[in-house]
C-alpha cells in the first residue's frame, strides 16, 4: 500500500485521464445514440436500415477490435487523428487520446441507442399519435413528446451503459493513454511486492467513480419522477 500512497499524485493524474475519456466519449455517445435511435424509429426506411446495420455491426464486435481498427487498420485507409495535439495543464490530448475517444464513442453509441430504444418502446403509442394529431412533424413528435419521455424511462439502462463505458476506458491503456489501468500496470511492475495494495487501491477508486455515476443517475430518476 505504501507505493500506492507515495505515488498517489500519479494515480490521481491517471484517473484524471480515465474521467476525461469517460466524459468526452460519454457525452458524444449520448448524442450519437440519440441520433441513431431517431434514425431507427423514424419513418425513413433507408436511415432505419442504416442505423440497424451499424448497431448490429459495432455492438457485436469486441471493443478491443474497434480499438485495433482505429489504431492499426484505419490509418492504412487514410483515417488518422495525428493532427490532434493539445496540452492543457498536466494533461496531453494526443492522437492516442482522440483515437480512444472515437473508438469508445462509436462502440458505446450503439448501446446507448438500444437503451434509448427500450425507452421509446415504453412510451405509449397514443402519445405519438396525439402529437401527430396536433400537427407536429416527425422531428417535433420526437423532440417534444417521445424522446423526453423515452429519456426518463431509459435512465437505468443508459446508466448501466455509461458505467460499462467508464470501465471500458481501461482498454485505452493498451493503446497509449496513461489512464488508471495503465498506471496500475506500471506501478505493479515497479513494486512487485506491493501488487496486492496497488490493485486494491485502484479498484476502490473505480468503485467510487462508478458509484458517483449511479448517484447522478438516481438523482435524474428522482427529478423526473413526476411524469
Amino acid at each position: 500500500m505504501e507505493a500506492f500512497i507515495n505515488e498517489f499524485p500519479e494515480v490521481l493524474q491517471a484517473f484524471g485521464y480515465t474521467v476525461l475519456l469517460f466524459l468526452c466519449s460519454g457525452v458524444l455517445s449520448l448524442i450519437g445514440g440519440t441520433i441513431l435511435v431517431a434514425m431507427r424509429v423514424g419513418p425513413i426506411a433507408v436511415l432505419n436500415k442504416a442505423a440497424a446495420t451499424y448497431v448490429t455491426l459495432v455492438r457485436n464486435t469486441p471493443l478491443l477490435m474497434v480499438f485495433f481498427f482505429f489504431q492499426f487498420a484505419a490509418p492504412k485507409i487514410g483515417i488518422n487523428l495525428k493532427f490532434v495535439d493539445v496540452h492543457i495543464g498536466s494533461f496531453d490530448f494526443t492522437s492516442f487520446f482522440a483515437t480512444a475517444v472515437v473508438a469508445l464513442t462509436l462502440y458505446t453509441s450503439t448501446f446507448v441507442c438500444e437503451a434509448l430504444r427500450s425507452g421509446v418502446n415504453a412510451v405509449p403509442l397514443g402519445q405519438a399519435e396525439a402529437a401527430r394529431a396536433i400537427g407536429l412533424p416527425f422531428s417535433g413528435v420526437m423532440r417534444e413528446v417521445v424522446l423526453p419521455q423515452a429519456f426518463r424511462a431509459s435512465v437505468p439502462p443508459v446508466a448501466s451503459t455509461l458505467i460499462a463505458l467508464l470501465k471500458n476506458t481501461s482498454v485505452a491503456a493498451v493503446f497509449g493513454v496513461l489512464e488508471a489501468a495503465a498506471q496500475m500496470k506500471i506501478m505493479t511492475n515497479n513494486h512487485a511486492d506491493e501488487r496486492w495494495g496497488i490493485f486494491l487501491g485502484v479498484a476502490l477508486l473505480y468503485v467510487v467513480l462508478v458509484e458517483l455515476v449511479s448517484l447522478v443517475a438516481i438523482s435524474f430518476e428522482r427529478r423526473w419522477r413526476i411524469a
Partner: protein, 258 residues
C-alpha cells in the same frame, strides 16, 4: 340543449368539409372499411355508431391519417389528404382529435399540453398561447388545474383538457374517437356537456360514440356502421324511432332495452 331540439340545424347548410369517396381499408384479411362514401358539411355534427369492430374508430382515425387507407380518397376542405411529411402535418393541425384514452402528454403540465401545438405548429408567442390556453381551460372547467400534471387529474378532467388541447389549434373539424368510453359513469356527463356546448357553437364534429343520449340531443345526422360499411344514415329522430335496416333494428333492440 333544449334550444337545439326546438331548432335543429339542417345538415346541408354548410359547404362540404370532409369528403370520403369509395374508401377501402384492410387489416390483413379483415375488410375494415368497405366502400365508404361520406360527406360532412361545415357546422354539421355527425355521430357514428355501431357494434364493436364495425370500423367506426378506423373511419375516424383515417380522416387525419392516423390509419392509412388502401384506396379511395379523403379530402378536407377541398384538399386531398397528403401522403406524408410537412403537408400532412399541416393538414392534421386543421383537424382536432380527441382519443378514447385521452393521450395527454404525460411529461407536460396541463397548460403546456394545451400550448404545445399553438407554439410549435402555429408559431404563437408563449404568452399569447398561454392566454388562449387559460381561456380554453376555463371554458372546459379545468382552469384551476393548469399547473398540474395529467396523472394528477381525474379521467373526466383529462378528457376535457384533451378537448381544450385540440381546440387550441382552432381546427376546422373535431374528431372524437369514443371520448367517454374510458370514463367512469359520473364523469361522462361533464365531458358530454363540453361537447354539446361545442356543437352549439357551430363546430363541425364527427363523433364515434356509444352515448345514444348525445346522439339524440346534439347530432344532426347519425351514421350507423356494421362490418366496415355504412349501413344507414339518418337524422337522430328517424334513426332511433324508425330504423330502416335490419342490422340497425337489431343493434338498437339490444342497446335500448335496458
Amino acid at each position: 340543449m333544449t334550444a337545439l331540439e326546438h331548432e335543429p340545424r339542417s345538415a346541408g347548410r354548410g359547404e362540404p368539409l370532409v369528403v370520403l369517396t369509395d374508401v377501402q381499408k384492410h387489416f390483413g384479411s379483415l375488410h375494415a372499411l368497405k366502400d365508404i362514401d361520406l360527406t360532412v358539411t361545415s357546422g354539421e355534427v355527425v355521430v357514428v355508431i355501431g357494434p364493436s369492430g364495425s370500423g367506426k374508430s378506423t373511419l375516424c382515425r383515417a380522416i387525419n391519417r392516423l390509419e392509412t387507407i388502401d384506396s379511395g380518397t379523403i379530402s378536407l376542405d377541398g384538399q386531398p389528404l397528403p401522403q406524408e411529411g410537412k403537408a400532412l402535418a399541416k393538414l392534421r393541425a386543421e383537424v382536432g382529435m380527441v382519443f378514447q384514452s385521452f393521450n395527454l402528454f404525460a411529461h407536460k403540465t396541463i397548460l403546456e399540453n394545451v400550448t404545445l401545438g399553438p407554439i410549435k405548429v402555429r408559431g404563437l408567442s408563449k404568452s399569447a398561447a398561454e392566454t388562449k390556453a387559460r381561456e380554453l381551460l376555463d371554458r372546459v372547467g379545468v382552469g384551476h388545474q393548469a399547473d398540474k400534471y395529467p396523472a394528477q387529474l381525474s379521467g373526466g378532467q383529462q378528457q376535457r383538457v384533451a378537448i381544450a388541447r385540440a381546440l387550441a389549434m382552432e381546427p376546422k373539424v373535431m374528431l372524437f374517437d369514443e371520448p367517454t368510453s374510458a370514463l367512469d359513469p359520473e364523469m361522462i356527463k361533464e365531458v358530454l356537456d363540453v361537447m354539446v356546448d361545442l356543437a352549439h357553437r357551430g363546430m363541425t364534429m364527427i363523433v364515434v360514440t356509444h352515448e345514444m343520449g348525445f346522439a339524440r340531443t346534439a347530432a344532426d345526422r347519425v351514421v350507423f356502421m356494421a362490418d366496415g360499411a355504412i349501413v344507414e344514415e339518418n337524422t337522430p329522430e328517424q334513426f332511433f324511432t324508425n330504423p330502416t335496416s335490419d342490422r340497425a333494428k337489431d343493434f338498437l333492440g339490444k342497446i335500448l332495452k335496458h
